[in-house]
Symmetry: C2
Subunit: 329 residues, 2 copies
């Protein structure tokens, strides 16, 4: 490497990240930002990281990696009935990057700023070797006292899920060389696109605030995430797998269905809606342009979610993606 | 690996991180937290990451790694005149860890909760391979309108620095096998300890709020960081190297002095104080138990900081640790 062709951290920030800074970020020329919370609103904070080899692949387009890093956080905000506001960005680069990569990454962020009304508050970068890791803390605003939670669901509540489940995990399998019979290349490309760029249903936030007794984002696998919502709500749950919105052409095979509903990376919303509010929730979702499907119910009990396929219990060998295991002492 | 000896993510969170959760964190059983900003205060947000091989070493004690990950953020808060409140924690584990590692890491966090008045708001973990990376976003409270900035310094302001500069970079060199002549093993151990566990001068926050025209934390190297404060304040600066508080026994060698004042990892505070407030600032620092040293002045100009050693200009071959370089297009 010649010094003459290198762009250092300060030049990178100046050229590509400073234009993304918003109110309170002091043009990224300070050590910290000031975040203003308007009266009558609650500040909602979440953090999610994406890691190369886990959430994205080394050859994914940098703009897609940027969007995914942001959106895996935005889905948490929407599921809590919050509107996105701003975020901080920490990147540990695993390998030397070129300016083109950073320019494309920043362009991906910029597009989502416009799409979701976001600004960058601050960040940190490091070059550490190994897989690249991008960690975001995202901030949103919910109506005062109106934040949704995983807890609060009650037996009898209907379970709704947004969008499509399993597209991302199928897309990743395709990138890893798997061919799914019965779908064409255009369908495969759509699944890959969804793995690379989730589309969290941000416009559902107000319907969640108004109608949901409990809600969460679906990120680690629908079944395992439903277990978490049910447990936090001190309930059990039933999911009818044939009602789960799956990618067209993949629902014929029970093993594939099992993978799709436990694979993760969906960044959709699972919501518990009291039956009395179901019609209003459907109408609000429709008005917001968000597809929702009723897939099951919360039930009395403490067991894990029972998944049925055409009325018969479906045996699952895993329930969700497990991010971390440690050896016991 | 046998499944019977593995502890999964949920069990790890339940056992080691849930006890660290504070108000608004919903016992880490939700997707996001709610952060309350009391009336009359401003919320200050910062993010810094630490990466294995850059900020800590694989064999560092896990409790030290936890403290360092937190404290590199806390120094930013103190430098902005903010009192620590809470943080989010994202960890990408590079290798399989055991329960003992996590227990010790969590104990390190817990000790700093008590020491600094912190709580954990939420987090995310992943197992990605490569070096372990820990990214924290930290939240603090400043008096309304009282946040300090890098900008605001004026020519004639006196430059003060807290604590000691260069101990961490010397400690790292010792860990890498360097012996510094003229110091004993006890002194070496102290330098290593400072590399592993910075001690940001948190109690200086109110003196900064009251007396500083500009302030920042010293994290990438005193000289380079002084360049940043001076540039943000549209000034130049002079530092007298012999007035910089350096580790005992290392100030005799001009090459070592150069390394100490440009090496980084200090997590001290550099503050610009108008001469009329210098006495009051010294008294406030003394009352807070924080050692401060006057090391130079802001001057008229746009040049980088002039460093003098016993009255003669000191030529430096680098000014700070550079975290990231990218290849130009």
């Amino acid at each position: 490497l010649k010094a003459s062709v290198a762009l250092d951290e300060l030049a990178i920030i100046d050229r590509y990240f400073r234009p993304l800074a918003g109110e309170g970020a002091f043009a990224l020329k300070d050590d910290a930002a000031r975040l203003h919370v308007p009266p009558g609103r609650d500040l909602v904070v979440t953090t999610d990281l994406v890691a190369e080899g886990v959430h994205f692949r080394p050859d994914d387009p940098p703009a897609s990696i940027a969007r995914k890093a942001l959106r895996v956080n935005l889905s948490d905000l929407a599921a809590k009935a919050a509107t996105p506001l701003a975020y901080t960005l920490a990147i540990a680069f695993g390998r030397r990057v070129d300016e083109r990569w950073i320019e494309s990454f920043a362009a991906g962020l910029r597009g989502d700023h416009e799409r979701y009304g976001l600004t960058l508050l601050g960040g940190d970068t490091s070059a550490a070797g190994g897989p690249t890791m991008i960690s975001i803390a995202a901030f949103g605003l919910a109506p005062r006292g109106g934040m949704a939670h995983r807890f609060g669901g009650r037996p009898g509540d209907l379970l709704f899920v947004t969008g499509m489940i399993g597209a991302a995990v199928a897309g990743l399998a395709i990138l890893e060389g798997e061919r799914f019979e019965g779908i064409d290349d255009a369908a495969r490309a759509q699944l890959v696109a969804r793995y690379r760029e989730p589309e969290p249903p941000m416009r559902l936030a107000s319907a969640i605030a108004e109608h949901a007794s409990a809600a969460m984002d679906v990120s680690d696998g629908l079944v395992g995430d439903c277990d978490k919502l049910a447990a936090a709500s001190e309930c059990s749950a039933i999911i009818d797998a044939e009602r789960v919105p799956l990618p067209l052409g993949l629902a014929h095979d029970v093993d594939i269905v099992s993978r799709l509903i436990t694979g993760g990376d969906d960044y959709e919303i699972l919501a518990a809606i009291p039956p009395s509010k179901a019609e209003a929730f459907r109408a609000a979702a429709s008005a917001a342009g968000v597809a929702v499907a009723e897939i099951g119910t919360l039930t009395v009990g403490k067991e894990r979610t029972e998944v049925r396929l055409r009325g018969r219990p479906l045996t699952l060998y895993r329930r969700a993606y497990i991010h971390l295991q440690a050896d016991k002492r």
